[in-house]
């Protein structure tokens, strides 16, 4: 599998993302600077990592979403190529319009940096096939704007089509207000597009892939991608 990790000014999780791909798949991703207008030949997966692109000025992810490389990412997605947006990457991918909705300020107004539990609600996607339905995994989060919002029609469509892949939950898989760190509608932590080749999620699976990091619950996502790409 050939992967690329996009790099924007202000992004700070690109090396974590690159390491996760390398550790799990054995292949080092290509780092692609935002001023490029084409992705390298033969890329299967484009990862949009976390951080604070352009200081999150204007809106989180807004300026990065208008970078020169973005048209190439859109074409990649249209061809059926995989796109993984994590944290700021999820915000960027929604700003591009590859995923519906938007990420708003956390309901608590606080930046939240901790480990949460996620329930895998759809293990049939290219990103989650290494997990089982309803499996509860641990995953770190670190964001101030992860409060998923979509208008009622969009939300109903996402739920109706089973496109909510990850939901915040407690250690037993129960989705409660207390287990939701940011106030996301329906406790949404990650969604896929209609075609299933673009995933956006606020938590950081790339930060839980080796024992040194305290666990390996995030590995499954990269293993899933390695199976299909």
């Amino acid at each position: 599998m050939k992967s690329a990790v996009l790099v924007f000014p202000g992004i700070n999780r690109e090396r974590d993302m690159a390491r996760a791909f390398e550790v799990v798949t054995g292949v080092k991703p290509v780092m692609v600077w935002h001023t490029e207008t084409e992705l390298p030949e033969g890329i299967d997966v484009v990862a949009v990592p976390g951080g604070f692109s352009y200081g999150d000025y204007l809106r989180c992810g807004a300026i990065a979403a208008r970078s020169p490389i973005i048209d190439a990412v859109k074409r990649h997605a249209e061809r059926g190529g995989y796109v993984l947006g994590v944290c700021n990457g999820f915000q960027i991918v929604t700003e591009i319009g590859l995923l519906p909705g938007a990420l708003m300020r956390n309901a608590s107004l606080k930046f939240v940096c901790k480990e949460v539990h996620l329930r895998v609600d759809d293990p049939t996607t290219a990103f989650t096939s290494a997990y089982t339905a309803g499996q509860v995994i641990r995953c770190p989060i670190a964001h101030g704007e992860g409060n998923y919002y979509a208008d009622p029609e969009t939300l109903a469509r996402l739920e109706g089509e089973g496109r909510v892949v990850f939901r915040y939950c407690d250690e037993l898989g129960r989705t409660t207000e207390a287990a939701d760190p940011n106030g996301s509608l329906n406790h949404i932590a990650g969604i896929v597009n209609e075609r299933g080749n673009v995933l956006g999620m606020m938590p950081h699976p790339e930060n839980l892939i080796e024992a040194l990091q305290g666990g390996t619950d995030g590995r499954g996502l990269f293993e899933s991608l390695a199976k299909v790409a």
Binding site: M104, L109, G183
Partner: protein, 79 residues
Amino acid sequence: MKARVTVTLKNGVLDPQGKAIQGALKSLGFAGVDDVRQGKLIELDLATSDRAAAEAEVTAMCEKLLANTVIENYRIELV
């Protein structure tokens, strides 16, 4: 010519910052504030003096970058 763009959250979109301001006003003794919505104001200094051209240009800027029309409305004033 100057343009003033006001970006506000759409009705129905939760505004935690507005809620915090409302709470702060209440704690300062300002009673009777039923709701607070926070937005942003962007002032642009434009080279053109043609109103129609400016309006079209700023509308394009709003659609392309200044507002996220999934969650925000925008209003343009030329001054």
